[in-house]
């Protein structure tokens, strides 16, 4: 039963206050894009066994979206951060690297 801290309103709450929103940092492709790009946007998921960046909404609270960096194998939460980002902030990346030597942020597809 996860605990997350909403970076928007500061409340630390259990997952029943939140609603998961899937993988974060997915680039939107629209009209004019290739079939591959569009398909990748909608359907290709990283689904990693390890560090994952995902979206959450504080549905039973302030209603805001945010991002979380979390390990899908140990459920360790490295941090939560603004949803208005195209990649995780440096301090979160540094925290993960410190705990998971050898890890690095993927390049945008």
């Amino acid at each position: 039963m996860l605990i997350l801290t909403c970076p928007c309103c500061g409340v630390t709450a259990e997952e029943t206050e939140f609603h998961g929103g899937g993988e974060a940092h997915i680039k939107r492709y629209g009209p004019g894009s290739s079939d591959d790009d569009f398909h990748g946007y909608l359907f290709e998921k990283v689904n990693p066994k390890g560090v994952h960046f995902e979206r959450w909404r504080h549905a039973n609270g302030c209603g805001k979206w945010f991002h979380a960096a979390r390990c899908t194998v140990t459920l360790e939460v490295f941090g939560t951060y603004s949803a208005q980002t195209t990649e995780p902030p440096q301090d979160i990346k540094d925290k993960i690297s410190a705990k998971r030597p050898g890890w690095s942020w993927r390049e945008f597809a």
Binding site: L2, K64, E76
Partner: protein, 1003 residues
Amino acid sequence: MSTRLANGGRLLNKSQPLEFTFNGKRFKGVEGDTLASALLANDQMLVGRSFKYHRPRGIVSSGAEEPNALVGLGEDAGFEPNQRVTTTELFDGLICASQNHWPSLEFDIGAINAKLSRFLPAGFYYKTFMFPRPFWKHVYEPIIRQSAGLGRAPRDRDQDSYEHFYAFFDVVVIGGGVAGLQAAKAAGDAGAKVLLMEQTPHWGGRAPVDGGTVDGQPVDKFVDGIVAILETMENVTLRRRMMGAGVYDHGYLLGYERVNDHRPDSTGPRHRLWRIRAGQIVTATGAIERPICFSGNDVPGVMLASAVRDYAVDYGVSIGDRTVVVTNNDDAYRTAITLKKLGLEIPAIVDTRAGGGGALAGEAIELGIRVENGKGIARVKGAKRVEAVEICVQAGEGAALETIKCDAVAMSGGWSPIVHLWSHCGGKLLWDDEKAMFRPDVDNAPTGADGEGFVRCAGAAEGHLDLADVLKGADSAGKAAAQATGHKPKRSKAPVADNPKEAGIEPVWLMPQGAGVKLRMKAWLDYQNDVKVSDVQLAAREGFESVEHAKRYTTLGMATDQGKLSNINGLAILSDALGQPIPQTGTTTFRPPYTPISLASIAGEARNETFQPLRKTPMHAWHAENGAYWEPVGAWRRPYCFPKPGESIEDAVQREVKATRDSLGLLDASTLGKIIVKGPDAGRFLDMLYTNMMSTLKPGRCRYGLMCNENGFLMDDGVVARLDEETFLCHTTSGGADSVHAHMEEWLQTEWWDWNVYTANVTEQFAQVAVVGPKARKVLEKLTDDDISAEALTFMGWTDVTFGTIRARVFRISFSGELSYEIAVRASEGRAFWDAVLNAGAEFGVTTYGTEALHIMRAEKGFIMIGDETDGTVIPQDLGLDWAISKKKDDFLGKRAQERRHMSDPTRWKLVGLETLDGATLPDGAYATAEGSNANGQRNVQGRVTSTYHSPTLGRGIAMGLVLNGPDRMGEILEFPKVEGAVMRAKIVEPVFYDKDGEKQNV
């Protein structure tokens, strides 16, 4: 025989006698007894029958690990099957019955299985019962099902209540023995907020029975003292009768409090489920003694050595007049010494160790007890009760050296730390060869949200069996837990304990070591599921080598005790059979709950009326008072129709449609979503969300809009009104209100966060009433002086109107095709407005109508319904709604998706109307067949019904559907088979059945 002793019974209040009934017979007990001790005091050792072989089963333990003594407790609404007698506190008037036998406990026909046991080894059912094929369902399975199960199913409704309780603590200590008490004190002294829970009604655990001194005083005095101190500490909460049921991720813990099981006539909840968030958890859960595997180790009267002395000391009950003790470690000597001092006979202590025991063995010998080293028990004699044991050399094959008459056997194969809560979230174990136990690997604790360990262990749970080590370790654990939650532990010393020095354990997994197959077939591992040593060896022989395979194949550890007495012995036998060390075999997965918890406690208060929150519109009470037939719509209830007394549902619906089209109808439309979208970029935003061009909508006007998801499919529809330059009001379907709002916020916050636009979900702020029919304007004109003439308020316009004192926004939109106004008023005034319109409409024969009439009227006009014409796979182009898709926009959600091959395929089924040839109504969801079958032998289809009703307006059945090339095939006849086979035939027509030119809404 088992009896009550004249003296002793530390936990008893002998001044309070109690009466109880077992299998219809009345017995006497004493306050403080468990049902187990009371039964034993009355020499009722036989309490049940095992699952498979229906062998006689007696009480084998004194605690939660009991696998045998399960009874059906209580009667009628209070009946509960599978209750362990060892954890049931006796109360006056308790009624219970043994389980799983017929016709009686003493004479059970199921015992025939035991006679046939050699033909019924582990897994025999996988090899048989296959022929003839139908026999599995009709013969074998029913017999198996009838003989399986344990207790009988409850019949009556549970009248008790159950509650959930939320709690937050720095440190939660589970287990109120000396380790838990010390850990709680150490953590509490550091200033942490502590919860200490104990599953029994008593503090102190094993120590008061086992003895020893702490800081110079007898351990039970130490216990009293420390409890007294803890009770004064404000930051420490103490709870007895509360079990730690499960540890979950991020420090979540379930506590199961049996509030009133011991006083069933009390008010209040029977069980309380604590939902706890802990910074640190300390498991001081103790250890369970292991049985020894010798032939006949399941005969009633064979018991765990520690349990024998528990009954003697705590409850003043002697299990047997003559008790043989068999052991591979020093601890069981405590039982012999205790019984001897109470004046009971110990014919022999059988110690498998050639070198014998340590200080306790010396004490036993000094008391005159006979000790036989290097020996074991070859067999137990007796069926429903121990009568004698045969002694043999442990290192041999079981040749009997001597037969010793006795009526009880106290066995100890060693101790296994209770590691469940440690393991639930991935805590690892290591095998301690010296102590012959799996204990927590403290370097691999379960980790929490911060990646750090959040569970630690104390006492026997950690693998410490020596009292001094227990207290020292518990003190450290409590201090460390407090420190990990930001508190400063006091610089204090742990209590010092005095304990006799014990000689080491020598693991014995089979007794005797070389026991032949005949003995191994009666050496039991799992008492409840009847798994014996030979079964595990068979599993290994057949290649079920993984411990999980062996468990599932033999069902070892799968009974209601979840292997508490059998797991370790079982995996040791498996290891031996595979020729591999025990750590390589490993354990099976530990899962919550530690012991079974009531389903009612998990459900909590959410039952009956409070099962889920109910959303009510402001007019809900009126609907209820006026006979509404309800339909659940999400968390709302909407009236499906309002049948008059004696009127059928169907007739009510037909009447409502007629009355509305003839004159005047009223619908509570409050559940429809209403979302304000406001800001300089509002138009731009709605242009992305809808297929239509919304930014060109003028203030004062409305537009019907379609919303697709990024995958291109139609997900919601509704009328959008422009309130002013920067403000739009979007209506959604009832089910879409929250999800569309969430959808909007998702795009604004995660994609277009630099756009200047905000949304607000105001669904609940406004009541909305649809006033519909030829007399709609007339009735409203009675209620206002504002100009709502045909010219002032045109179709698809909106305006503010005051009705008396009630301010309203009136939308002239129509879902029925009639002259129609949807009127939004403040929610608090909704009921008043509703009443006012009803009042004013009486002269026009105003009729309230529900969702079904709504559906029929829109279908008569060919208007689509989200959820009927759409099913998550339909796009606007399928429904002839191309006109709502703007050609001028470069981008909107779903546009790119609709360019994909399958989405732009011209053979996609398209919306048409369907009229049966005979006027009958097509059934919901019927399919139109085409010639032939596909590659998988399924009939080919070319269309399906999406909505179908009997239309009172037209006096015939009407339907809408999606058909291959539908719009190009007007007049063609299609065949729709019913499920049972009869075929209906219908003609393809335009999907608008009534008022094709749309004149009535323009009146």
